[in-house]
């Protein structure tokens, strides 16, 4: 009798202590079809090995569980699951002891939650509904995703602030729901008097997700590096570092170009690396590929010239300098070292030069930053390829060979390092291999940039190459290609190619295919000197600019417009949902499920 009382007391105590079954965590949320979802549970009564643990229902269907422990269960989202919100219900299955006890009477044995399942491919026009009347050329897009909370994202493009002229009021796109909806927040420093907004701009969150860093060329041609800790705040990003247009020491104007920001938190402080091209307006600039960097979370900045070879009579490198940071603190940077100048068949400028990668093995925090990777000539910087021919548009009406479609030739370049292995990196650049092409090449190194593969992929007449690598090694490669359709009309196709085996096999998704001849170009660049992609959880997430005609045929995997549009008549509509609006160039967000290796 006494034993029975003890047992009952124990069971009541267990019931009281254990409380109700609850779901503590669902990861990832949102989830992907045919991908693992892990559910953390607590207060499952299972003190004895005979206890059966929990049952999990996904939309009322009992799921096979793996793992299946008393605090963590997992399942795979079934094939054919419709994108949208789904129910997850966890039930503490009654074991023998519970059946015999009072536990069943005293505690809730179920808990449930909602899990959003994303479609495999999502494309969203980022112009918000309130700007349905907008007709600007919103080119050169960029995106940054908060690693700790991937629902927080910012985007950018040459989207003017409708309030202009105003100061420190350039706009950034903000999403707090993983890219499903976007609004514009006028908090970017610089602008907008001469121009309705800042010029080149890129952004990066640190890896802890607490700070967003931005690099912009403002309307005074100064390079501004700025930071915010709250992307939804109405407070203008604080200026960390300003490189003015006129240099009092050099007594020369300095043209900073294409600040490309990457940031990563290592040992409690943020390393910020901004690739940029530093040009003297008067005289020979010589070696211009530069990384403006901070290893103390932006308290101090220094500039490091990363070109160690002669630039000859050209006196400069190409505009694009692209840093990439490994999770272990390895920092790479890629650039195109120009060596001599020539002329193409139609009179366009052609620069002969090298594709170069530099590396620093310790955050570039030492005395000789970016000198850990030597070339065969003994100089810092490995030449991935030499003697390439790079066309470059002078951006004037009289430039004879000025455009690929309506786009200018810039200096297309992208670099990505494997987050799980900093020895593995991919590079993509564009050059001319024949007489009038613009060909993107993709290559790989598996030994920290010492040796490089031959071309893994070549794409003719393409721009805006952008690379990203998942933790599982899957590579995502975005580009936009000028292609003729069946009628011979040119179209800009926006592709995302994925591979798990260095492009031996690949999955190629066309996110958009739009007319290349409309709308008419207002300024250069038409679509952008760059676009961007990042690996985020199960997804490749990115942004590109394109013709915004609301035509389902232009978006093979579907599209969602925030702005008002009638897909039947293929017309954009103003906020009154009646007045037609002219087509223009808009930024498009995309999210594509990463391949499993």
């Amino acid at each position: 009798m006494r034993r029975l009382v003890f047992l009952l007391q124990g069971l009541i105590l267990t019931a009281l202590i254990s409380g109700c079954v609850s779901i503590k965590m669902v990861q990832p949320d949102p989830a992907a079809i045919e991908r693992q979802v892990n559910v953390g549970v607590s207060n499952v009564v299972g003190p004895f090995s005979s206890e059966p643990g929990v049952e999990l229902k996904f939309d009322e269907n009992v799921m096979p569980l793996d793992p299946d422990t008393s605090d963590l269960v997992g399942f795979v989202v079934p094939p054919g699951t419709a994108p949208g919100d789904h129910n997850i219900k966890v039930t503490d299955k009654p074991g023998l002891l519970e059946i015999l006890s009072i536990v069943l009477l005293l505690r809730d044995r179920t808990d449930e939650t909602t899990l959003r399942v994303y479609p495999d491919v999502t494309v969203i026009n980022m112009i918000p509904a309130s700007l349905s009347g907008e007709t600007e050329q919103d080119s050169e897009p960029f995106i940054a995703i908060n690693a700790e909370n991937p629902k927080l994202m910012i985007g950018s493009a040459f989207t003017p602030n409708p309030n202009a002229p105003c100061t420190d009021c350039s706009v950034m796109y903000v999403s707090t729901d993983g890219g499903d909806t976007w609004h514009l927040n006028p908090v970017v420093p610089g602008g907008a008097y001469v121009s309705p907004g800042v010029l080149d701009q890129t952004y990066s969150f640190d890896s802890e997700g607490s700070d967003l860093y931005g690099g912009v060329i403002d309307t005074t041609f100064s390079m501004v590096l700025a930071r915010t800790q709250d992307i939804t705040s109405a407070t203008v990003m604080s200026r960390l570092d300003v490189q003015g247009f006129f240099d009092l020491q050099l007594l020369n104007f300095i043209l900073h170009d294409q600040p490309f920001v990457r940031a990563r938190t290592v040992a409690g402080s943020d390393g910020i690396y901004v690739g940029e091209n530093t040009l003297k307006v008067f005289g020979c600039s010589e070696k211009t590929a530069t990384v403006r960097m901070s290893t103390d979370s932006g308290a101090t900045f220094t500039s490091v010239a990363v070109e160690y070879r002669d630039t000859g009579s050209v006196c400069q490198d190409a505009p694009s300098v692209r840093p990439a940071i490994g999770t272990d603190g390895t920092v790479y940077a890629a650039f195109m070292g120009w060596r001599s100048e020539g002329t193409g068949l139609t009179g366009e400028k052609l620069f002969n030069g090298d594709v170069v990668v530099v590396r620093d093995d310790n955050r570039a925090a030492g005395m000789n930053p970016f000198q850990d990777l030597l070339g065969t000539d003994g100089l810092p910087g490995r030449r991935v390829e030499q003697n390439r021919s790079f066309p470059f548009t002078e951006a004037t009406t009289t430039d004879p060979g000025r455009h690929l479609g309506q786009e200018r030739y810039g200096s297309s370049l992208s670099l990505a390092v494997d987050p799980s292995n900093s020895s593995i990196l991919y590079i993509a650049w564009a050059d001319r291999i024949s007489t009038n092409d613009y060909t993107v090449h993709v290559r790989r190194s598996i030994d920290r940039g010492v040796s490089w593969s031959s071309d893994l992929l070549t794409i003719t007449n393409a721009i805006c190459p952008a690379l990203a690598i998942q933790h599982n090694g899957t590579v995502g490669f975005f580009y936009q290609q000028l292609s003729p359709d069946a009628s011979g009309n040119s179209r800009w196709e926006s592709h995302l190619v994925q591979t798990t085996d260095a492009f031996t096999t690949k999955d190629d998704k066309i996110l958009a295919t739009v007319p290349a001849d409309s709308p008419a170009r207002v300024f250069d660049p038409y679509l952008g000197d760059y676009a961007h992609i990042e690996a985020s959880g199960l997804w490749f997430v990115g942004v590109f600019s394109a013709n915004n005609t609301p035509d389902n045929n232009n978006f093979p995997h579907g599209v969602v417009y925030q702005r008002n549009a009638d897909f039947n008549t293929k017309r954009l509509l103003d906020v009154d949902n009646t007045t037609p609006v002219d087509i223009s160039i808009d930024p498009f967000f995309f999210r594509v499920k990463a391949l499993a290796p």
Partner: protein, 285 residues
């Protein structure tokens, strides 16, 4: 006479003291006190002006904004001043961010002087100030229109005041500036300077002996120069010109002689010929 003067002076001092006192009181008031501000000042600080009816206090139309005492929802009755994307906002409900909504009630009508703050599913605007419209009153449209005209004129007057030349003329030729022919950086943002020779038909301001002026402008079609006037041969109009004083830049060559070059860098620095009388009036100001 002296007594009268002293009395008048004393009156003036008392008035000034009263004005200062009231001014201080206004300064102590929250932003809503801008209802007392002059329409000119409100217009000067606003890019989005409309008459609207308060639909709801402590409410928002933009989900990303937290509801507070400072958020109200207003239906736009009539747009008075706006930028292009907002042309069809009549009848729309939007969020207005005010410093203090205590003086407003639902169904109140007011003129709102605002700037667009957030553009999402709906728009949120930040109020510089507002002026309530009482029963039987109408919005002070004439005053606002006059203030807008004053604002526009003032900006142009400032451009004219800082200009060395204001000329009516016609572009006879365009060439590449010497600095662009020299070694220059290869960049998307390099201006690719051009020089337009403007045949002067009339000098509205400046040395009237000039019959030709060299006007430098960016030939680049880059985004950096999208708002800067560019010229072509045969183009006629009014140029508001400042001298190119950039250090180290070669002077222009005109008829074989070195001469100063001038620039029209602001979107207002080139005006249509039809604005001639207006520009003459502003120059007199």
């Amino acid at each position: 006479m002296m007594v009268i003067f002293q009395n008048e002076t004393a009156k003036l001092i008392r008035r000034l003291a009263l004005i200062c006192f009231l001014g201080n009181l206004l300064l102590l008031q929250p932003n809503i006190a801008t209802a007392e501000d002059s329409i000119n000042e409100l217009v000067q600080r606003s890019r989005f002006i409309f008459t609207g009816t308060v639909v709801e206090l402590r409410a928002v139309t933009v989900p990303s904004i937290t509801v507070s005492d400072n958020t109200i929802v207003v239906r736009i009755d009539e747009l008075i001043y706006h930028k292009k994307p907002f042309a069809n906002y009549g009848g729309k409900k939007i969020t207005v961010l005010v410093n203090d909504s205590n003086l407003l009630r639902a169904a109140d009508q007011a003129v709102f002087f605002t700037n667009v703050a957030i553009m999402g599913e709906s728009v949120a605007v930040r109020a510089v100030g507002y002026k309530k419209i009482g029963q039987g009153e109408t919005a002070p449209r004439k005053q606002i229109a006059a203030a807008l005209q004053t604002m526009e004129d003032r900006a142009l007057v400032e451009r004219i005041a800082g200009a060395e030349f204001v000329v009516l003329g016609k572009v006879s030729s365009i060439g590449v500036a010497a600095e662009t022919l020299q070694t220059h950086p290869i960049s998307e943002h390099y201006p690719h300077w051009r020089e337009a020779i403007v045949e002067v038909e009339a000098t509205l301001k400046g040395d009237s002996s000039r019959t030709r002026i060299v006007v430098r402008f960016p030939g680049s079609e880059d985004v950096a120069f999208r708002s800067i006037p560019k010229f072509k041969v045969g183009q006629q109009g009014i140029w508001i010109l400042r001298r190119d004083i950039r250090p180290g830049v070669p002077r222009a060559i005109l008829e074989g002689k070195e001469t100063d070059a001038y620039m029209a860098q602001d979107i207002q620095d080139f005006q249509a010929r039809s604005r001639l009388e207006k520009i003459r009036q502003l120059i007199k100001q």
